[in-house]
């Protein structure tokens, strides 16, 4: 099916893809089109948006548009990387548990449920607090260390329903090994589902990073959207009436996660006949 037909069937997907692509381009092209150092205090402090500073400056005199460009880039990178890693773990845990069943499944399923029960942000806070410095990769790995569980549970339930289909029986009859059946017969058949879930996980990871950073436990060396919000909270942007300091950052987070939700919904409309009806 070509892209055009896909989009025609779901306008949500189109809107989602447009917003997401916009922010990806914003982060990639931004530094070239607007080459201002995001961390260097070099301008007037707390200047409202103007032609010179489209999004104004913060209390230290740093340009907020430059911060938003770099912050979006790092947040997208952290979100996408963390989602990919948790996807890999989730496929392993959910796929193996669901397909092999028995004791392995009981243990893996219990583990995923335990990880799902512990509130993510609390876990991230208690672990991150022990790191004096946190690189972006520390944060990516921390986020993936909990985010895989939701993925594992969904993939497990998909595998459970797929493994009773005829083509799997056929594969078994042709004497393929169980690992081979799982990875070459079962998983490719749930690719659309995996892509849908991936969109949601990127959104979830971006949200986790923002929450962790807002409380002061994000990456220590870079600017991310969460760190920008943290600065606005710590320096009490509200009490200075500096709406331009916090409004665009939060809108960016909201729109990015919203676009991913729309992509997920749109794909669901296309691939899931039940959702299409409504």
């Amino acid at each position: 099916m070509d892209l055009k037909a896909l989009i025609k069937r779901s306008p949500k997907l189109l809107v989602g893809l447009c917003i997401f692509t916009f922010f990806v381009l914003f982060a990639i092209l931004g530094p070239f089109l607007y080459p201002v150092d995001p961390k260097k205090p070099q301008f007037e402090s707390l200047a409202p948006p103007s032609i010179k500073h489209p999004l104004g400056t913060d209390i230290l005199g740093r340009d907020l548009l430059a911060q938003l460009i770099w912050g979006t880039g790092y947040s997208l990178k952290i979100g996408i990387m963390a989602a990919l890693i948790s996807l890999a773990i989730g496929i392993m845990v959910g796929g193996i548990g669901g397909y092999f069943g028995g004791m392995i499944d009981e243990i893996l399923n219990l583990t995923s449920n335990v990880v799902l029960t512990i509130p993510t942000i609390a876990f991230l806070i208690v672990v991150a607090a022990y790191f004096r410095t946190r690189s972006e990769w520390t944060v990516i790995l921390l986020i993936s260390s909990t985010a895989w569980a939701g993925m594992a549970r969904s993939i497990r339930s998909q595998v459970l329903s797929l493994k009773t289909r005829e083509f799997i029986d056929l594969a078994k009859l042709s004497n393929l090994s169980r690992v081979r059946i799982l990875f070459f017969e079962v998983l490719p058949n749930m690719l659309s589902y995996i892509v849908m879930y991936l969109a949601l996980s990127v959104a979830g990871a971006i949200g986790s990073e923002a929450g962790l950073s807002a409380i002061g436990l994000g990456p220590t060396e870079i600017v991310s959207l969460g760190i920008l919000l943290r600065w606005a909270i710590v320096w009490e942007a509200v009490r200075y009436g500096a709406w331009w300091w916090f409004l665009p950052v939060g809108l960016t987070i909201t729109l990015i996660t919203l676009s991913l939700l729309l992509i997920n919904d749109g794909l669901d409309q296309i691939y899931n006949p039940r959702a299409r009806r409504s």
Partner: protein, 349 residues
């Protein structure tokens, strides 16, 4: 009866997950300091030694190397670090079950458990009403949007989407800025005026309620969005189902039909509550920081800033316990609402 067994198994599994979660959280709290590089006590001893050799004004100034070595050994013994790991772990568990979580560093010499006992009621007073009110409003608006469709739905559905995706603490900033800073209707932060001491007088309660509005709205409104989206799609599905079409052809009133589809759609919405509970609670933790609201979130934040590890660990355990209890209550609620489970438990036929 296979049905009864499967439902019992369902409940046993749930409880097993909660017990396992609790022990894993405890173990994690104990394990984390052990996994980190470096020896905190040696570091402390070295710092004292360095302060001594510089002849600084530190209270330990003038200690010789031998004395510091003795001090080190004393601390190792005092914290039980000379015992085998498994014994250390068991002692830790015993302490946890007797609510002995150690002493807070930033609020020395207050016990961690006392700090938490003071913060927890504030957090729960925010969380529980926000979830209940948010759930009701969200489900009502979601059902209404699905039922009315047309222009109403087209305007309110994107709003729901936006609401559900906003970071809670960012929305808190927006509310503080508009209703607090610009219009001056509500205070910018805190749980009560600092000039008042907490008491049950009318003046204090009104003051606390005045401070309560903005934090409450910033936790509740994003939650409404998520619930409404779920309810909307469930009702849309119900309205298009065979029984609804049959109903319509029989000429039933729309209101009657809606009440039937609502009852069918509510069940999955209750199933989803634990997930929302966890995310609302997580979002609230950071929101409290924005409002300097004296709950668990702000406590944890203060502990992170002051590197108060006993308090961080205690706060984490408190959050895990509240989440587990919340989930457990919701499970019971679910069993009560779902007729299939209720029947097997009451033995109705």
């Amino acid at each position: 009866m296979p049905m009864t067994q499967s439902h019992h198994l369902f409940f046993i599994r749930k409880v097993a997950v909660y017990v396992a979660t609790f022990f894993i959280a405890l173990t994690l709290v104990w394990l984390l300091p052990h996994m980190m590089p470096g020896d905190p006590i040696l570091e402390k001893a070295m710092r004292i030694l360095a302060a001594g050799s510089k002849g600084g004004a530190a209270p330990s100034a003038g200690l010789t190397e031998v004395q510091v070595k003795r001090l080190y050994e004393f601390w190792v013994k005092k914290f039980g670090l000379d015992k085998p790991l498994i014994i250390q772990y068991l002692i830790f568990l015993k302490n946890c079950f007797t609510f002995d979580l150690g002493v807070s560093i930033t609020r020395y010499p207050t016990q961690v458990i006392d700090v938490l006992a003071q913060a927890l009621p504030w957090s729960l007073a925010l969380l529980i009403p926000a979830i209940i009110v948010g759930w009701i409003i969200g489900n009502y608006l979601g059902a209404l949007a699905a039922y009315k469709r047309g222009i109403f739905d087209r305007i309110i559905y994107p709003l729901f989407l936006l609401m559900s995706q906003m970071p809670y603490y960012w929305f808190a900033l927006v509310l503080v800025y508009t209703l607090g800073f610009q219009m001056g209707i509500f205070p910018l932060g805190g749980a009560y005026s600092l000039t008042l001491t907490p008491s049950l007088s009318l003046g204090f309660i009104l003051d606390a309620l005045h401070h309560y509005v903005l934090p409450f709205l910033s936790v509740m409104i994003p939650y409404v969005g998520g619930e409404a989206i779920g309810m909307r799609s469930l009702i849309l599905y119900e309205i298009n189902s065979d029984y609804a079409n049959y109903f319509e052809s029989l000429g039933f009133r729309d209101k009657k039909l809606l009440s039937y589809s609502f009852r069918n759609a509510v069940l999955p919405q209750v199933t989803g509550l634990p997930i929302y509970f966890a995310s609302a609670f997580g979002g609230q933790l950071v929101t409290e920081v924005v409002f300097t609201y004296p709950g668990i979130g702000s406590t944890l934040y203060g502990a992170v800033i002051g590197q108060d590890y006993p308090l961080i660990q205690g706060g984490f355990l408190a959050i895990v316990i509240v989440t587990i209890l919340g989930n457990f209550i919701l499970d019971i609620l679910y069993a009560y609402i779902d007729p299939r489970i209720r029947i097997t438990y009451k033995g109705e036929k």
